[in-house]
Amino acid sequence: MNVLVFADCQDGKILKSGIEAVSYASRVVEQFGGTLVTATYGTEDSSELEKLGEVGAETLFVSKTNQGTPWSLTEYLSALVRERNIELVVLSNDFTGKAILGLLGSKLDAGAVNNAVDFPKNENGFTVKSQMFSGKAFGEVRITSSIKIIALLPNAVGTVSNPKSLSIKYFEGDFNSRIKIVEEKKLETGGTVPLPEAELVVSGGRGLKGPENWGIVEDLASTLGATTACSRPVSDLDWRPHHEHVGQTGLAIRPNLYIAIGISGAIQHLAGVNGSKTIVVVNNDPEAPFFKAADYGVVADAFEFIPKFTEALKAHKANNA
């Protein structure tokens, strides 16, 4: 099965979710046979491109002029699919992947499965396990079209080292964006990993009473090197920016560690975070539903416990440095 994988790039940096997608695709090729073609754009920096070689990319196409818009990427990838007789396209289910998945599906007349959480199987036709119902369930989905597309949920399978010698080919030709980018805005995340890719997340809820109290959340997050998140009412009340809102109507995330502070654990909140590998809940109400979904629980006033926890963590880090 000839596989094309796309790794997104922003500000000249290959995204972590893109590296994971390449690692996934190279393992699919090991399992099913065939050749792997990797595509990216927006950087010629060999130290960035080498990151893809580390996880299994060999033939790497780089489009120099692509603007990275849904249509221009779709046409770039469609051209590679035709040129290289591709049967499976792998994307990351990140913002860019979500934007191009459907365009690509319609252009290639391909069945697409997004939110994939595992490697494809070939027992009952070609099937992939996909996260559905905002994290409340999974489905084993069969794709029957001759060209297939999988969008991999970030942090679902991780990355394994598989160094290969890269052969870089610059892709000539321009593709129409059909939209004009007027301005780009950066989120103020204080240099931390964006939420969908974060492995460590510290999240605050309405139990923190007001935006002025977020210092304890931020201190804990920066001590851990974690990204901050919040429950929906917190972003609705504008205590925190919208991009931090996790749950059924916000981002669905699956970090290695999710620390929930002053969050009750409503079903819509859990939907977006229950894929996390380890969940810690800090809540002063022992009956809070979140404890049922937690691995570790602390029944305590957050304002007392979190500063102590952060101090202890600093000591732990100093000892383990």
Partner: protein
């Protein structure tokens, strides 16, 4: 402005999800259905605001069977002018997109709006596929939308930030949080919704490329380990040695 808003029927967000027939079918027993929140709160409400400011009409379109009519009436109660239902089960994204594209083609819509994803299949595919089939510009995950003349300015979410975008109409848009505020239908809206036109259209032939063979639920968590709040070091040890996450 002629605006088409795609509306889908999804289980209420408080629903406990379960399956039947050997885990091959979603169990609808006891489930309340609602308009997909992204379709309703953001796409539909913004479409209505544009109509209120610029004139025109807002039509909703749903691919679904007759059991979708109550959620379509809800969209009409919120203020859509009329509704179309393509009478087919929306089993596959490309199949569904083909139904919408085939209806919309040649009808002169300035905007075709979708929610950024549904809260059941979380597909985020149908809108983009409709854009692809109609060969129209596509703006994903837009958190704001302003129209002036024959073009629109939007802000779209991307990893780590956002982009301000200009696009010529007609265009296809997927709406995310921020584009508008939820509206609660009032009594007058609910009454008039009953009389608004809900046209039922037969589906076209279209390919189906995906099917769900079986469903499963996440593994149940084992019992929570409670930590003594006076001993934060215990939690750190557990996260370090047992969970191995820090």
């Amino acid at each position: 402005m002629k605006i088409l808003v795609a509306i889908s029927k999804v289980p209420d967000s408080t629903s406990k999800i379960s399956f039947k027939d050997n885990n091959t079918q979603f169990d609808e027993a006891g489930i309340q259905f609602i308009v997909n929140p992204y379709d309703e709160w953001y796409a539909l409400v913004r479409a209505l605001e544009l109509k209120e400011n610029l004139g025109g009409a807002v039509t909703t379109i749903t691919v679904g069977e007759a059991n979708a009519d109550p959620v379509i009436r809800k969209a009409l109660a919120i203020g859509a002018d009329d509704a179309v239902r393509i009478d087919a089960e929306p089993v596959d994204a490309l199949f569904t997109a083909n139904q919408i594209a085939s209806f919309a083609r040649d009808k002169g819509y300035d905007l075709i709006m979708f929610g950024k994803e549904t809260i059941n299949y979380n597909g985020s595919q149908v809108g983009a596929m409709a854009a692809g089939l109609l060969d129209l510009p596509y703006v994903s995950n837009a958190s704001s939308l302003e129209v002036s003349g024959s073009s629109a300015r939007l802000e779209r979410d991307i990893q780590g930030g956002s982009q301000v975008i200009d696009v010529d109409l007609p265009a296809v848009i997927s709406a995310s949080k921020g584009m508008a505020e939820q509206r609660i239908p009032n009594m007058k809206g609910i009454m008039s919704a009953r009389k608004k036109k809900l046209e039922v259209v037969a589906p076209i032939e279209a390919p189906r490329h995906t099917e769900v063979l079986s469903y499963s639920l996440p593994e149940a968590k084992s019992e929570v380990k409670l930590i003594d709040p006076d001993n934060p070091t215990e939690l750190i040890e557990l996260l370090h040695k047992e969970a191995k996450v820090i």
